[in-house]
């Protein structure tokens, strides 16, 4: 039997079995869950290689599942993060009600993501896309918080995106008579001009929603923060990448028709830039870690969209590298928030402080995640940023560089807020009892954080598969040019060698750490955070000395004009208007039988009067 279809069957069967087993006491469901995630993933790594395919016909459409190099790259993200998140979830979701539903959707979303990556025809692409949407939707509402607002918002936007995509798909189908992605890309040049415009825009809406592009991002903060953190790591890390994947497929596939500098590309890139800035600014203003990370995800996806939009080989490389990195570090960070929430019961900065000594491993993971997120060398985030800047400068998008740089500098603010809010600051008595998260939750975090470290020094590890993916998309020119194990190139031939940098950093750090610790290490004692210079005052237990409220108020005051109004406001207004309109139109049904009879008569009379115009007689 074909391994591809077997993978899907195991996923599906595993999902159903886990769901059915969810009411059985004992570890059966956990074991089933892990098995049904890990077994197919192992099969994916061992039994499948790029180029394998599986074809069949259903409902009159030809289905083709094939593993492309690009799909393989994204599948690495999905499977890697998926397994980590699954291990994390087993521990994190203990003692939760309705566990079956969680496991079911978890497995289904991993399956659907792999499905998206494998499909080479638009129908199965869309089918898996929708499965992904609703399974993730069920995760968003899973905890029952704000379901009517957040959940519905997520689903509305997803549906708008998906239906825009569906419209594009059926248009492509009617134009080419085939649902194959390759066929679409090939015959794109032959479309009428308006179709050439409309189809990519519709696709873009579809993918833009999933990847939280700026005017379509409003679902993201709520959805990310309301789903269980075990899933959010996957949600933000892998699921949102599907939008990027689609964008890459469509945009890069049509590279021949949208050359670099085409207005369409520039529009996308600028949308990405706006997304990055907006996401960052709003992230700074958040007091809830989940919301902060959610907005941060929006911003990070903005960078990726910029890269995809620019579309030079280096920019593409940067975008895909950042996609991988984002999966790693955002997975870590969401997991960390989940651990904190599990241990303390809240994820609000203003409530939790000073966990660093209680949850050191979580802190370590978050620290690495944050450093990677901020793009500070030597961790992986920097590599992606570097390539993005170089590609932007190399392709003459100077203002975009500034925009991106602003966003990424401002990102330090929320990065610091995240670390400070949870781990640093006063160690309150309220949180004295907090323990480090369970081992199964810590291990995935540490592994993912280690991944950022590894890729920061040896980006070649992932740049190689990315190059393979890009070749598939038609960037044959990039062959071998942009990847080296530990070296980065820009388009002018300048380079950064990462390995000695890492050694230098480690050496200097170690030297000065030893310098600071030597001699007085034994004499130095730990003192509590209450023992600080507060003009001689002895802080009482109840006194709150942590500065976290209005953390970045001065900065926010400085950027106030940019943040006056959320786009949410307009969407909500639109929604309210629509509902009011519908409230009005439904009054057609007056409840009076006579009125209905009158409608019938009017119907007849109108058509009798207009019969010539309507029926041509």
């Amino acid at each position: 039997m074909n391994t591809i279809i077997l993978i899907f069957i195991i996923f599906l069967a595993g999902a159903i079995l886990t769901f059915l087993a969810s009411n059985i006491k004992g570890l059966l469901k956990e074991v089933l869950f892990l098995a049904s995630v890990i077994v197919p993933v192992v099969m994916f790594f061992t039994g499948v290689k790029a180029g394998d395919s599986f074809n069949f016909h259903l409902a009159g459409f030809a289905f083709q599942w094939e593993i492309t190099p690009l799909g393989y790259l994204f599948a690495l993200i999905v499977t890697g993060l998926g397994v980590m998140a699954a291990i994390y979830a087993v521990s994190a979701m203990q003692k939760t009600k309705n566990l079956g539903l969680f496991y079911f959707n978890f497995i289904l979303s991993i399956m659907s993501m792999l499905g998206i990556l494998f499909s080479r025809d638009l129908v199965s692409f869309f089918i898996f896309w929708e499965i992904m949407t609703w399974s993730s939707y069920l995760m968003v509402v899973y905890q029952g918080k704000d379901v009517q607002k957040v959940g519905i918002k997520y689903f509305i936007f997803s549906a708008i995106g998906a239906y825009a995509m569906l419209m594009a798909i059926v248009m492509v189908y009617s134009l080419t008579g085939s649902m194959m992605i390759d066929k679409m890309i090939q015959s794109y040049a032959g479309f009428a001009f308006n179709m050439q415009i409309i189809i990519p825009i519709l696709f873009l809406i579809g993918f833009g929603v999933k990847s939280a592009m700026m005017p379509l991002h409003v679902w993201a903060p709520g959805a990310y923060s309301h789903s269980p953190m075990a899933f959010t790591s996957l949600f933000s890390g892998a699921l949102s990448k599907m939008g990027i994947y689609g964008m890459v497929i469509v945009m890069a596939g049509m590279i021949a028709y949208f050359p670099e500098g085409h207005w369409f590309r520039i529009v996308i890139a600028w949308l990405g830039g706006i997304t990055a800035v907006g996401g960052t600014l709003w992230a700074i203003a958040q007091d809830d870690a989940k919301k902060l990370l959610a907005y941060s995800s929006v911003a990070q996806l903005g960078y990726i969209i910029v890269g995809v939009g620019i579309g030079t080989p280096l920019a593409m490389l940067a975008a895909l590298f950042m996609a991988v990195m984002h999966a790693l570090f955002k997975g870590t960070l969401f997991m960390a928030v989940g651990a904190i929430e599990k241990q303390t019961g809240t994820s609000n900065f203003t409530e939790v402080t000073g966990l660093i000594r209680k949850m050191p491993l979580t802190f370590l993971a978050s620290l690495m995640g944050i450093i990677a997120l901020a793009g500070i060398p030597p961790l992986g985030g920097f590599v992606g940023k570097w390539m993005l800047y170089e590609s932007l400068i190399g392709s003459d998008h100077y203002l975009l560089v500034i925009v991106i740089f602003f966003s990424s500098t401002a990102a330090f603010l929320y990065c610091y807020k995240f670390l400070f809010g949870f781990f640093l600051g006063q160690e309150e008595k309220e949180w004295e009892h907090v323990k480090e998260a369970p081992v199964l939750m810590v291990i995935p975090m540490i592994i993912l954080a280690g991944g950022t470290f590894l890729l920061g020094t040896f980006p070649g590890l992932v740049i190689k598969p990315i190059s393979a993916g890009l070749e598939q998309l038609g960037y044959a020119a990039t062959q071998g040019k942009y990847w080296e194990m530990s070296m980065l190139f820009n388009e002018w031939g300048d380079q950064v060698v990462l390995e000695p940098i890492l050694y230098a950093i480690i050496a200097v750090f170690a030297f000065f750490l030893v310098f600071l610790l030597i001699k007085n290490h034994k004499n130095t004692r730990y003192v509590s955070t209450k023992d600080i210079s507060t003009s001689g005052e002895v802080p009482k237990e109840h006194e709150n000395l942590t500065f976290i409220q209005n953390f970045f108020q001065p900065f926010l005051r400085a950027v106030e004009p940019l943040m006056k109004r959320q786009i949410d406001f307009y969407y909500n207004g639109f929604g309210k208007g629509i509902e009011a309109l519908f409230d009005f139109t439904r009054r057609i049904y007056t409840g009076n039988g006579q009125t209905y009879a009158l409608y019938a008569i009017i119907f007849v009379v109108i058509f009798l009067l207009l019969k010539t115009t309507l029926f041509g007689i």
Binding site: I356, R357, P360, A374, I376, P377, F382, K385, W386, E390, D396, Y398, I402, F405, F406, T409, F412, L413, C415, Y416, L419, F420, L424, G425, Q426, E427, N490, W492, D494, V496, V497, P500, I501, A504, I505, V508, F509, F512, L513, L516, L517, N520, N523, T524, R525, Y526, V527, S528, T529, K530, D531, I532, S533, L545, T546, F547, F551, P554, F555, A558
Partner: protein, 302 residues
């Protein structure tokens, strides 16, 4: 062997940077005193302070992050220095500049502030946290014109490497501060924020924040920070000199150029009161941003 020499050269560079930075600090104190009609401390006062701080006991800490904070800071400044070619002809001070470029530098430069901020955060002192937030906000402010200047230069000279810029200047014979003046103006205005003299000394702000992030650090910690600050000062000044003033062929020229450049923020600071944070942030988004834009336009046109 070569590696060993390189390491030796790096250590020499660090020591040089330390000495020069410290001396500059002392001279600035002296100048400040003279401007305020005081006699002021001797120029080597900073060395005395540093040694005293080094010799003080450090009996307490607030946790590992607190202890590692200064080391982070040091990493930032030393690694920054590593990537800045001190002298044009290389030699002992060549460092690792062949491996890095400006964007890398930009990021490694903030590495220290963030690490320091973490250390400051763990002390639990609210003043530290406030100072950190101010510092980060201000950083967002001044990085924009600074980056605009750099981008303008990059597109003008089609390189992102510092040695590349030096070569450009050596070939053309003109300093970049003349051939791309707007970038230089933007960069210098950004420098005001970078060096945190008045009116941008909102981070330390002794009378408000009790020296801000460093308020819980004494003794060795403070010593490390102080040295790191000196090294960083030197590194940044050298970077500016390399970028805009054609680098330096020997140490004396380097000292003259850096000192001259250093006087800009110092003298500007001497006659300025302190801004509020949002004012400071907005300051950089005013004229400096304008000059940055002008620089980019200039670079695109020429």
């Amino acid at each position: 062997m070569e590696l060993f020499l390189n390491i030796l050269g790096a250590i020499a560079t660090v020591i040089l940077a330390f000495i020069v930075g410290m001396s500059y600090g002392g001279i600035v104190r002296k100048i400040t005193a003279r401007v305020q009609n005081r006699k002021g401390p001797p120029w080597y006062q900073n060395f005395i302070d540093a040694y005293k701080l080094y010799s003080k006991t450090t009996a307490i800490h607030h946790g590992w992050m607190h202890r590692m904070g200064p080391a982070f800071l040091m990493v930032s400044s030393v690694v920054t220095l590593m990537f800045v070619p001190v002298l044009n002809n290389g030699g002992w001070f060549e460092n690792m500049n062949f491996q890095g470029d400006l964007i890398f530098l930009l990021y490694i430069m903030v590495f220290g502030s963030l690490g320091m901020a973490l250390g400051a955060g763990q002390t639990g002192n609210p003043n530290s946290a406030i100072g950190v937030t101010r510092g980060l906000s201000q950083m967002v402010g001044f990085e924009i014109p600074w980056v605009m200047a750099l981008v303008a230069m990059m597109i003008q000279y089609k390189t992102t490497s510092i040695t590349g810029f030096i070569e450009v200047q050596q070939e053309s014979g003109t300093w970049l501060m003349f051939s791309s003046p707007f970038a230089f103006i933007a960069a210098v205005l950004a420098m005001l924020g970078m060096f945190r003299y008045s009116p941008f000394d909102i981070v330390g702000a002794p009378s408000e924040l009790a020296s801000g992030p460093v308020s819980e650090n004494g003794g060795k910690y403070l010593f490390t920070m102080m040295s790191s600050g000196s090294i960083f000062t030197f590194a940044k000044l050298t970077l500016y000199v390399d970028l805009f003033m054609g680098g330096a062929n020997n140490l004396l020229v380097l000292l003259i150029k850096t000192f001259a450049l250093y006087m800009v923020p110092v003298l500007y600071g001497l006659v300025s009161p302190r801004y509020r944070t949002e004012q400071a942030v907005r300051y950089f988004w005013g004229w400096p941003l304008f000059f940055g834009l002008l620089a980019i336009i200039y670079a695109v046109i020429f």
